[in-house]
């Protein structure tokens, strides 16, 4: 069971997970994930620029991004199993689920009285019982109890001080993206920021696997992953 590295713990632990397979950490410096923010810039004639974020619908985080990564492996007779898993992954239809067990943050701007919202990705703790449970802070006050439920709806009666997070993803009714609903037991009385720290599981597809054979009994394979819906 790999330990997750939290946002205040620089670096990664030594294993990734894709579907039900465990992958070793690539060689140092080899793993370069990207998650560009989804926003556009309007350059004005005065030289300034205004940013527009796409509206994803009610309850979605303030900012959205799109994950992609290239994961390179140097393979030889010491990690034949890895070589087999990479090949199996390439040949299997998606979507695949990937986590690097790195904790990430998403922020929601809640309206006064708003208790129901969505995490943009599944929580690795709920899906695979890895790392640690999510933490939430509403307006500077931590939510005391985080519980995971098979499903969470807006009409659920959540006790005060708790938050219920769904274990499975649903399609968002406005954007159509796969999201994870959650509901706070105590809604903010005034507009407030909700800061969530969790270990996201990315819904990805394998764009391809590049292979090179530098010498006898060695090969290099690079897995290209990109997030899908």
């Amino acid at each position: 069971m790999p330990l997750g590295s939290k946002t205040n713990e620089p670096g990664l632990v030594d294993q990734f997970r894709i579907d039900d397979m465990t992958f070793d950490m690539p060689q140092a410096g080899g793993y370069v994930p990207e998650a560009p923010l989804q926003q556009t810039r309007f350059p004005s004639m005065a030289g300034g620029g205004t940013i527009t974020l796409p509206y994803r619908g009610e309850g979605m985080p303030d900012r959205s991004d799109l994950f992609s990564a290239a994961i390179p492996y140097d393979l030889d007779d010491t990690n034949g199993l890895m070589a087999d898993q990479v090949e199996l992954l390439r040949a299997t239809i998606g979507p695949h689920f990937f986590t690097d067990w790195k904790q990430r943050i998403c922020v929601h701007s809640l309206r006064a009285g708003q208790a129901f919202a969505y995490l943009p990705r599944e929580d690795g703790f709920a899906k695979w019982a890895g790392a640690s449970a999510a933490s939430m802070v509403v307006g500077g006050t931590p939510v005391a109890t985080v519980l995971y439920k098979p499903a969470v709806t807006e009409s659920d009666a959540v006790p005060a001080g708790e938050v219920w997070i769904a274990e499975t993803a649903i399609r968002h009714p406005f954007s159509g993206l796969y999201v994870v609903p959650f509901k706070l037991g105590t809604a903010p009385l005034a507009p407030a920021k909700l800061v969530t720290r969790y270990f996201p599981v990315f819904r990805v597809d394998v764009d391809g696997v590049a292979a090179t054979f530098p010498g006898v009994a060695t090969e290099t394979k690079v897995i290209y992953l990109s997030e899908i819906n």
Binding site: Q38, Q39, T40, F42, P43, S44, M45, A46, G47, G48, G49, T50, I51, T52, L53, P54, Y55, R56, G57, E58, D62, H108, S109, L110, R111, Q114, R171, H172, P173, F174, S175, G176, L177, P191, N229
Partner: protein, 744 residues
Amino acid sequence: MPVLSPLLALTISTVEQANAFAPEFAISTRSVRSTSDILEIDLTITAELAAALASSERVAGVEIQIDKGDGQLARLLQTEIAGTAELKDSREGYGARTLSFTLQVPPSQSPFFVAWSRGPHRVRMIGYLGLPGAMQPRPMFDGYVTQCSWEADPSLLRVDCQDISVLLSSEKLAFNLEPGSLRTRKSVFREILTPYLAVYGLEFGRLDFGSNDGGLLFKGLSEGGTVDLLQWLAAFLTPIARRLTWEGGACNVEPSYASGPPVRTFRANDVSGLSVSLPSTTDANAVVMSGTVFGFIGPSGQRTETDPPKITRALFTPEVAIRRQDHTTGDIEDLTLTIEPEVREVSRVVTTRVYEAGTVVMTTIEEWGWYSARACPRQQNDEAAVSFNSAFDVYFYADGSCRCEPQQQYQVLRQSISVKEFNGPYGPLSEAVTVTQFNANVVPIGYIDDDSAEIPNPVFLTAEGIGWAKGFEFFERSTDDSQYFWVSGIGEGTLQDGRRGRSNNGFGSTRRLTYYSEDSEGRLGSRTTALYSWGLFYYTIELPVPSAFVFGPSSTRVYAIAGGGFSEFIIAPTVVTTFSAIDETSHKETTSLVAISLPVDLDAARMPATPVVGEQIVPGGIPVLEVPTNGQTAQAASATVIDAVRSALLGKVVPDDQQNDFCETVDELGTSALELLREKAPAIQFDSLIDWTIRAGAPLTLLLPEAIPVGEVMTAWEVEWSLDVRSGENKQHILARWLPKELR
């Protein structure tokens, strides 16, 4: 009745409360028939949009709903929409708004195989703009699918839509209107469109036809189903500078170009890609509009012409009351009424002339303005006791005046009808001027009886202590007559004797007669007397006289001489004046008189008839307006409008001949020509981020001195919105026109 859980609960029962809550809100109600119905209140809240526009980082999006074939509107997921949604609004043509978007569909969705893409299904679009956690939805489109096209690789279905005007776009007009109908343009417009709107379940929205509901129609209309309804209506509205729009699921008529405060001010940091283009130098710089104009022969058998109203618009704030006196308790309470300044119509003058053989024999002048009738805050009983006005509430304005209403109203202030008679070919014989305006109907607050005793009159009192019959000004008619007498040997046009009279149909009546006569040295002089009658009391009033019965302080002096019973004598004014205080702000003065009989010709035959009060039921059918249509004479007429600047640059005038058959006057021809020249006005184009606020026809300002003159507004001629649903990348391209002064 469903249980409602309102996000916002309002208790508004008065206009003041509504204004205090949000003066800019437009609140509409629909079809509330019983207590079990729901009152629908549409509130447009713009604060969140304003916050988004002020921010340099904002959130934008759209929601598209389509009828998938079951008659219900279903929201499309963003993942079902490919690329960019495009919306276009133009003031050209009949003002249709169009929407295009692309559906991301699986293969085999070709229109050949899928019935949906061949049907006129309903589509709505809602624009979103705001900041995280504070988003503002704004309905932007409501219409129907007009065309679909399918791309096989990748599999995409492009959907083109048009707003509700598409329902009428193929309709042809069949309509007849007899010449000389004298119906307003608005009335005819409504009659034409009502059956079509009923068929399609549409309704009328804002119908701004300007003054006099778009003017009167003298011409006949005869359309036999060969012309496009909407194109015809657009041309029908051109002579009054109006156009069609279709917002809110309703048919609207709006001014064709913008005036008033700008909807939005763009600064350099709000725009990109700015360009200014002037009309082509090879284009016409003058428009010659031709048509036929009928000289209308009215029911009197005389030609009648109404000038275009002379309207003044300005930034104006109607005055409001600062205090109110309750008529049941006399208590005076402070008020906090506010009206925002905005560009309003502040005056209007409408002149109508009736001709007889080319000579004006009757002129009617109607003048409009902002006013509230003055009122009396006090009243006096028959024992001279003064108390507060117990008949109605009185409002105090900041200037100290007392009025009937809490705020000024825009209304007719004065109407004068001048009727002239001519003495054959020689000159004027008489002129009678009937003036209707606000009059106070001043009455004495007391009189002296035969025993020289002061008898108080129960009257309303102004703040200055002047007695008014009804306690407020009312719109009454008075007549001034002038008669001209011709005396041989003196010369044509010499005034030998004149007579002026005044009467009103108010509570009392006054006749005022002015006599012109020569004194012993042959100098022309005049003297005015008047007889006032009120109930059983009669007063003769002389204006001006050296001394008299005085009411109120000297600044508002009214002189009168009392006579017991109806007297045809002026009783010489004299004598004892006494003063007594009523309260701290007013006083009364009474005078006792000594009668000296002076014979005066009051011309009893000219006394006004007893006024008819109330409704008069006239037996028989509704009278039919009989119009001698064969008396109308059609005249070819034309109006030329020149762009003086361009003409000067070119050194010549290049005309563009046009025709509009719906013009009733030469001025309407001129307006039609101006409309065409406005299309040639300088165009300012630029991009900005979507604000869901600017629409075609909206006034806007660009704070770039090089683009348009500082402080002036331009009109959004065409607005195109585009928004990539996935990335949020968005743009609104605005084509605006700045109209030079001569084109406004």
